[in-house]
């Protein structure tokens, strides 16, 4: 590997709860994201992918979550050991997030202008024309007539528009890494496509890295350079997207790819995943 | 569901404590006639504002001190140093009827009829505050239960039906509840009380008060139940039952009601204090329970006299303490129930 990666996660382990009732959500995983790279983390619900994403800037509420081990190096600094005051400037400025439900992720009582401006004022105090910057951010994500939208409240926008606002807010401070936690799951299919197209375009234009959390291999093929497959807190496979899709090494990856019905390739039956079998494979 | 609830209460220390103490209070209320040494109207005009009698252990038996009135204008009593009256257990007393029909001639304890035992002192006519407190608990403790029973039955029926069927029925009942809620509660209570009291004698006043409090209370329950029914009504499991051809009343009974039950138990428990405090307030204003019956509110109202304050007849305020304890127990129990039934605290009562 060349130079230090933008993000390096080493042996990260996260528990929920303590003692006998503790569940091991993430069990010692390691992966990297290079500058300008898009990495998809794929897995079913409960695989630990969202937990991993939130842990990058320690957004998981503790308790119940507990960082049991490992380190998260962002530009060489371990975010797990930083103090709150050191960490906060990184959030939003270096690592920005968009979430699954744009409808609930925007604060219902503030205008979208206020919410985007809040991020700009916080991380880019040098900006004089905050309103102009908000307009630019909205324009960037393809919102037409951004000036007219400034005074809107989130509930006045459609789901797709809300997610665009979330993206605008995330990108307003030019982060190095955008963490997109299932950004299209809650949206209609045609809107999903629009949002993914937008992300792909912005990635090319802004040159940032993206960590995309998803359960849909179809989306992965579309946008990711590399893919990390998670199963019950483990990383079972990692590699270039094209390689993994063409030639999956782990049975779980194969099963996950095969279980999705594909247009125009009618099979009589879908392949279902035998979770117990895969669990057995993981035991040394 | 309910047995499960009971088991869960037993797992929580606060729950056990509150449930147990409430059980004790209700047992005391049920057996008030046996436990109290005197009848509630038993006057002794020679011993007004008597302080609580001191208890001493003497010669291997429990005795009470005997007091002498030192200053009649200030109602100042002083214990006589060497006069004691032994306390008898299962003491013979004037005949009375337990629960109105079991003839009895004994009370749990008492002293020779020449002396008096005032565990909590006596009031302005020398009646035993302790006995009156026990008798009064019958009113104060039952009013909440009866009231909540009536409002729940009416509220669930009206709210459930109008939420489930909607339409004109819903419109009419909701306008009615709005009407009831548009009058300040106590104003309406006073109006009802004044209007109806002519048709009830003092023995029936209790029923009147319960009726009035329930009449005011059902509208709130009905509205909340209607809201819950409306939201439950659109849950797929109700649609599933409809799709199976289940009849509306079975759906109400089998699918809706059990899902409301937890909420109802919590709100009922948390509303009981309202009835207890409501009765106390009415009696305090002099428009609630009337002599010769007794209730905690009525006793407090009689203690309202400035003389009581100025001369430190603190024992006359014990009904206030009784109300406080009962209400706090119900509130705490309600909170435990809410934790169990509704861990996400969706009900805000």
């Amino acid at each position: 590997m060349c130079a230090t990666p933008l993000l390096e996660v080493r042996n990260l382990a996260i528990d929920f709860g303590r003692g006998e009732n503790a569940t091991h959500a993430v069990k010692g995983i390691s992966f990297t994201i290079a500058d300008g790279e898009t990495v998809a983390v794929v897995g079913e619900s409960g695989s630990g992918k969202s937990v991993t994403a939130l842990s990058l800037t320690r957004l998981l509420p503790t308790p119940p979550a507990r960082y049991v081990g490992g380190e998260i190096l962002f530009n060489g600094r371990n975010t797990l050991t930083l103090s709150g005051d050191e960490l906060r400037p990184m959030r939003g400025k270096q690592i920005a997030y968009i979430f699954q439900e744009p409808g609930t992720s925007l604060n219902p009582v503030f205008t979208i202008e206020f919410q985007i401006a809040e991020a700009i004022r916080l991380h880019r105090p040098e900006v004089k024309d905050v309103r102009g910057e908000v307009v630019r951010a909205l324009d960037l994500v393809g919102i037409r007539d951004p000036e007219k939208r400034l005074g809107d409240y989130p509930h006045q926008l459609s789901g797709g528009m809300q997610q665009r606002v979330m993206i605008a807010m995330a990108l307003a401070c030019h982060p190095k890494l955008l963490v997109a936690d299932e950004p299209t799951t809650a949206l209609d299919v045609t809107i999903q496509k629009q949002i993914m197209d937008l992300l792909r375009e912005l990635k090319g234009r802004l040159g940032m890295s993206i960590m995309l959390i998803t359960h849909n291999f179809g989306i992965v093929a579309d946008i990711a350079d590399r893919v990390v497959v998670m199963f019950r807190g483990h990383i079972v496979e990692e590699g270039k997207t094209a390689d993994v899709l063409r030639n999956p090494q782990h049975p779980y990856t194969r099963a996950l790819i095969d279980c999705v019905p594909r247009l125009g390739q009618k099979q009589r039956r879908l392949k279902a995943i035998d979770h117990a079998e895969i669990e057995a494979l993981l035991k040394p | 569901m309910t047995s499960n609830l009971f088991r869960q209460i037993l797992q929580r220390p606060t729950g056990v404590l509150c449930a147990a103490l409430l059980a004790v209070l209700y047992l005391i209320a049920i057996f008030a006639a046996v436990i109290s040494p005197y009848a509630p109207s038993d006057q002794n005009l020679a011993k007004t504002y008597h302080p609580p009698t001191g208890l001493v252990w003497h010669d291997g038996r429990l005795c009470v001190r005997v007091y002498k009135l030192v200053d009649p204008t200030e109602a100042l009593y002083r214990a006589e140093p060497d006069r004691l009256a032994p306390v008898h257990f299962w003491a013979k007393s004037a005949p009375y009827k337990l629960w109105g029909f079991i003839p009895m001639e004994h009370r749990l304890f008492g002293v020779d009829s020449a002396e008096r035992i005032y565990l909590l002192g006596s009031d302005s006519t020398g009646r035993d505050v302790f006995s009156r407190l026990l008798y009064g608990s019958q009113v104060s403790l039952s009013i909440g239960l009866i009231g909540i029973f009536i409002t729940t039955v009416i509220g669930v029926t009206v709210g459930g039906l109008s939420g489930y069927f909607g339409g004109p029925l819903d419109n009419v009942t909701m306008r009615l509840t709005e009407l009831l809620m548009a009058v300040p509660d106590l104003y309406l209570i006073i109006a009802l009380r004044a209007a109806l009291s002519a048709y009830f004698d003092s023995g029936q006043i209790f029923l009147l008060i319960v009726g009035i409090l329930s009449f005011i209370g059902w509208s709130g329950t009905a509205r909340v139940i209607r809201g819950l029914t409306l939201s439950l009504r659109n849950r797929p499991f109700i649609h599933a039952a409809e799709a199976l051809g289940q009849t509306p009343f079975v759906i109400l009974w089998k699918h809706l009601f059990p899902n409301l039950l937890g909420y109802l138990i919590v709100t009922s428990t948390l509303s009981i204090p309202g009835y207890i405090l409501g009765e106390a307030a009415l009696s305090f204003l002099g428009i609630g329970i009337q002599e010769p019956s007794t209730s905690w509110g009525l006793m407090l109202s009689q203690a309202q006299d400035m003389k009581v304050f100025m001369l430190n007849f603190w024992w006359l305020l014990t009904p206030g303490l009784a109300i406080f304890v009962t209400v706090i127990l119900f509130n705490a129990l309600g909170d435990v129930l809410r934790d169990i039934v509704d861990p996400k605290l969706k009900t805000q009562v």
Partner: protein, 322 residues
Amino acid sequence: MKTYIFKRLLTMIPMLLGVTFLVFLLMSLSPGDFLTPIKAQRDISAEYIRQLEAEFGLNRPWYVQYFLWLKNLLHLDFGYSWTYKIPVVQLLAQRAPCTLLLSITSLIFSWAVAIPLGVLAAVYKGSIFDKISAFLAYTTLSVPGFFLALVAVYFAARTGWFPTGGLTSIDHDYLSFPERILDYAHHLFLPTLILGIGGIAGLMRIMRTSTLDVIHADYVMTARAKGLGERAILFRHVLRNAINPLVTTLGFAFSGLLSGALLVENVMNYPGLGQLVYQAFLRKDQFVVLGAVVLGSVMLIVGNLLADLLLAWTDPRIRYDK
């Protein structure tokens, strides 16, 4: 918005008709009327009583009386108080502002205490502070309001630090303006405290619950992911949302305040609407009671309307334009 307010005010009319009808019906159910005590006096001629009966329509069926009363109401004529010997309007005009003043001061007091306490209890959930405040909430919820009032009167009488009743001192008219304000404040202090305490516990618990709800909302996560400090998150993003359920209770709070005020006014001898209605009832002063109930209901309905408007203002999702 204006049309909404107008519509809401229109719906008040059937509501008030219903309320007055109900109260009128109730009053007519009870035997006797306000002339009963006069009739018992020997020195008043039967002629005069008949004249009075005719004047007040007492010799007609109750529903006719009701319509008579309604007709007069259109000219803001609430009738005449027999016991106070002045028109009811005057009486109400004296008393209602006092109750309104007391309600508002105690509302402000209870909100000012309950909101910070509730938020703190939610933020430090499970801490000693949370437990102590929960315990205090229990305690105040469980003490009858009139009992507290009784204790307050005792306290005032014993220490002499506060007046034991009324809204003004005897020499009020001779005081300078700032002194008058102080005089009001001095008289209002204890009633406000007593009436306010009753509301604190409930409000605090609602505030705690809704804060706990909001603290785990997705948009709080968003705010944190933005890099906002915890203080900004709490005061900007959490508080603005958590306060909405409290605003919804404002309408109900008003009902509770009026009822609570009735007790407090009577115990603490405060010259408000509650005291008036109670005493008028004891004396069967029919028109006073009716007027007070109507006014109380109007205050309640307007209070509800204000609460709804306030909610629309704090929560942009609720707008009444359409």
